[in-house]
């Protein structure tokens, strides 16, 4: 409790009060919910918002009477954007604080760091960010997009709707862009795009001098064929990238950029006028006009006390994941982690864009895919969406080595890494 910041003081005081009032029923102890998001360091920019989202969701659930008559108690820790610390903090949450579920992590490397801990201690982790796939763990629920729920529909849009023939795959140098680009390159080449029409380039984290890269993109795009940039550039590096594009006069009409890591939150740090028309692919946009979304945005503004704060895709993922977890607890009749993990598959929860998300046997969920164009007010206008929901695919069908692997955590298979050609379940669970 001492680690909780002053922002939480109110919530905590309220909970303590509720706890003391309910003290008569000694059995009705609160269910502890771990929140594992960086509140300091490089990732604080993205993750601190998710911590607030979780606290808001928990507060709301408590206002409704909690779950199974028990209040929820958030336990917030700060892994400080330090990947090994994620594992330590996860262990602390489970063994010392006794949480029954963890919501957290952002970067793939932090998830990989937590994964062995939750598998060992058998507590579910809800991971809310789009990621590279090629993983399935019994104790991880992936509420963000797998590549087939973001990257593949995005390049289909480029090819079919915009007639793009040349692709620049520009990414930050780490596991998510490298795996995604590997899948995309294979996918494009299988569909007749020549190798010389694909340019793959990586830059370091936090890269800020984009002159040569943008000049190269310009040159690559001036060969007469319609060209687009598929960007897996992460975090801070996006701002100088888009600034350089605008300064070198590359507009969305010449060479459009479609990004997988640029959302409302990332755009809130820049003047978006020169970026109008560049795109992002997500499963949620703040601008999507549904009653559920409107209500969510209103509650968020009220909770955070600032009408200029935006909502984004990972926040929706936490919204869905949290509601699914609540339903699974109710279905299982207990908050016991093992029972909840077993109850999760098949649970459904409404999303914010007017549909219903379902937890699939591979621990991924169904999502609609939207393509949005950046507007000059820092929001996206959805210009296209998949006709229906897309189920997340843990193992990409477009990589030869993983297309034969499936994941199904239902009995009797109960395997995250099942090779259909050999009929063997790999001992490795992820």
């Amino acid at each position: 409790m001492r680690t909780i910041r002053k922002r939480l003081a109110g919530v905590v005081a309220g909970l303590a009060l509720a706890g003391s009032v309910g003290g008569a029923h000694a059995a009705e102890e609160p269910i502890k919910v771990g929140v594992l998001h960086s509140l300091s360091g490089t990732m604080a920019i993205s993750e601190s918002t998710l911590k607030d989202t979780m606290l808001m969701l928990i507060e709301e659930q408590n206002a409704k009477g909690g779950v199974l008559g028990r209040k929820l108690e958030p336990v917030v820790v700060d892994p400080a954007s330090d990947w090994p610390l994620f594992a330590e903090k996860a262990r602390q949450l489970i063994t010392q604080e006794g949480v029954d579920v963890i919501f957290g992590a952002w970067t793939s490397v932090s998830r990989k760091s937590v994964l062995p801990v939750v598998e060992e201690l058998k507590v579910p982790l809800f991971y809310p960010v789009q990621y590279e796939g090629e993983e399935s763990s019994k104790y991880v629920f992936y509420t963000g997009a797998a590549p087939n729920q973001q990257a593949i529909p995005a390049v289909n849009y480029l090819r079919n709707m915009l007639g793009i023939e040349r692709f620049v795959l520009e990414g930050t140098d780490y596991v998510y862009p490298r795996t995604t680009n590997k899948i995309l390159k294979r996918y494009l080449m299988d569909r007749g795009v020549a190798e010389e029409d694909i340019l793959v380039n990586y830059t370091p984290f936090g890269f800020s001098d984009w002159q040569s890269e943008v000049a190269r993109i310009k040159e690559f795009g001036s060969q007469g064929k319609p060209t687009a940039v598929v960007s897996t550039i992460n975090g801070d590096a996006n701002v100088p990238f888009y600034k350089e594009l605008a300064n070198q006069g590359v507009s969305a009409a010449d060479i459009p950029v479609i990004a997988f890591s640029v959302g409302e939150q990332e755009l809130s740090g820049i003047d978006t006028a020169p970026l109008v028309g560049h795109m992002s692919a997500w499963n949620y946009f703040q601008s999507i006009d549904t009653p559920a979304n409107e209500a969510f945005i209103e509650r968020w503004h009220e909770y955070i006390g600032d009408d200029s704060r935006v909502t984004n895709d990972p926040m929706e993922a936490h919204y869905i994941g949290f509601n699914m977890w609540v339903k699974a607890v109710e279905k299982a009749g207990t908050a016991d982690p093992e029972a909840v993990v077993d109850a999760m598959i098949g649970v459904t929860a409404p999303n914010l864009t007017g549909g219903v998300a379902a937890m699939m046997p591979n621990h991924h969920i169904t999502k609609p895919v939207f393509i949005g164009e950046i507007q000059d007010n820092g929001q996206f206008a959805a210009v296209w969406q998949t006709p229906g929901m897309v189920a997340g695919d843990a193992w990409s069908d477009f990589l030869p080595e993983s297309s034969k692997i499936i994941s199904d955590w239902r009995e009797p298979l109960a395997c995250g890494n099942y090779d259909v050609t050999t009929g063997e379940c790999s001992g490795q669970e992820y």
């Binding site: 830059t203 890269e213 459009p256 740090g269 795109m279």
Partner: protein, 528 residues
Amino acid sequence: MSPMLRTALVIGLSLALSAAAVAADFATLLQGLDTRNFREKMTVTEQIAGSGHPRAAAVLTALSAGDLYVDDASGRVVIRHDDGPVTDAATGEPVASHGGLDRVIANILMRRRIEGALSRLRLNAPAPQMRLKAVRGLFGDLDENTVALLRERRDAEDDPRVAAALAVGLALYDLREGSRGERMAAIDELGGNLAPEARNALRQAAADGALPGPVREAAASALARTQTWVSFYDRVEQIFFGLSLGSVLLLAAVGLAITFGVMGVINMAHGELIMLGAYTTFVLQQLMPGHIGLALVLSVPAAFLVAGAFGVVIERGVIRHLYGRPLETLLATFGISLILQQLVRTVFSPLNRSVSAPEWLSGSVVLNPVLSLTVNRLVIIAFALAVFTLLVLVLNRTSLGLKVRAVSQNRAMARAVGVRSDWVDAATFGLGAGVAGIAGVALSQLTNVGPNMGQSYIIDSFLVVVFGGAGNLLGTLVGAMTLGVLNKFLEPATGAVLAKILVLVFIILFIQKRPKGLFPQRGRAAEA
């Protein structure tokens, strides 16, 4: 009434009526834009482009610029630029708007289509600049119709630049569709032209097996001629990129060249002083909304004072107790850097802040189709050199500079002749910190302003100072520019990640060979 007059009247009346009908049709057509379906919007856009209506150009321009709205109350399609008056899109007349306005959003496809349509409409615009843009806009869309328009325009054109562009456009078409003679003439016209369309057309012609041998050879040799120039300009561009990166490194490192180079203090909080300068810019821009450029200019002295004041406080409060103990200084200043970061997180939030670029720092100077220099980089190169020159003058031509050099070379002797070394230490550190603050103002135009921005520059700054030779400002200048250009020449060949590693390896090897850097200090000061 004579029959003639009557006929005239009837014709006039029917014309007026049909004009009214056309106007009504056009207004109805515009209503079609009020939909969420982009396919339908695209169809309507094409109909507007093909309508030939006098308002078509205005409506399309507004649609592309995001100035087209649907009035909630009347359902009418209207145009409004920024907060200006509302006009009816179909008639151009001012209308009163009571309800809210919903913007009609255009997607890329629609904007591309509009661009093409507008190019056709603007081909006869009065301003040569507009015509030039229109002609170039048609290069990608050459068919019989557009070529007829271009030919028509060529006969009437008097502006030499537009005429040249028209000749290129027609040559592009001739090279694709013309007779053998026309093709050879087109190749002559396009050879040496740096425009990517011209190069692509030549490349295609040179590889096109259906063309007769001599035509292909002519195209190939014309292309080779162009390529020589292209690679020349590519080199020039690379050098510019390198100097630009070098000027950023110079700005970041020059403050450190004073605190570390001259005073010998390992200041790990140097990056955070840069960050404070950047945040000063942000605060001033917030205080002066509507005067972004002026705020930026005022930020230069303001950032110097803010970061300089922090520098003096750090020196008086911490560093002066630790002179001669480099390890403790390193740890203490590292602690200060963490404190400053968290301070900024608490005051401004952990999110990045947006510092706007004024109009005069955006865009680029286009020298030719291959080479254009971005304005913000040009200004920053000049700014870095100005700051550097000023600093050299301060150190070499002022009494403060004399005292700084005296204290750094022989503290005891300086004190003996009456220099207040305490005061000089504080002033020197403050000067170095202030210059770091100025660097922050410039960097706020290039990169993110956030709590972590300092960390991305601290290592590069130390590299530059060590490479150039501690204690030597000229070394910092040469070191920064060398590393910048080296980096930018490696990057295209190796990629950004490997380029950075190679530069590091180079510096390590260099320091092995010459531990005191490019320009080592000589004489007794070097041993002190």
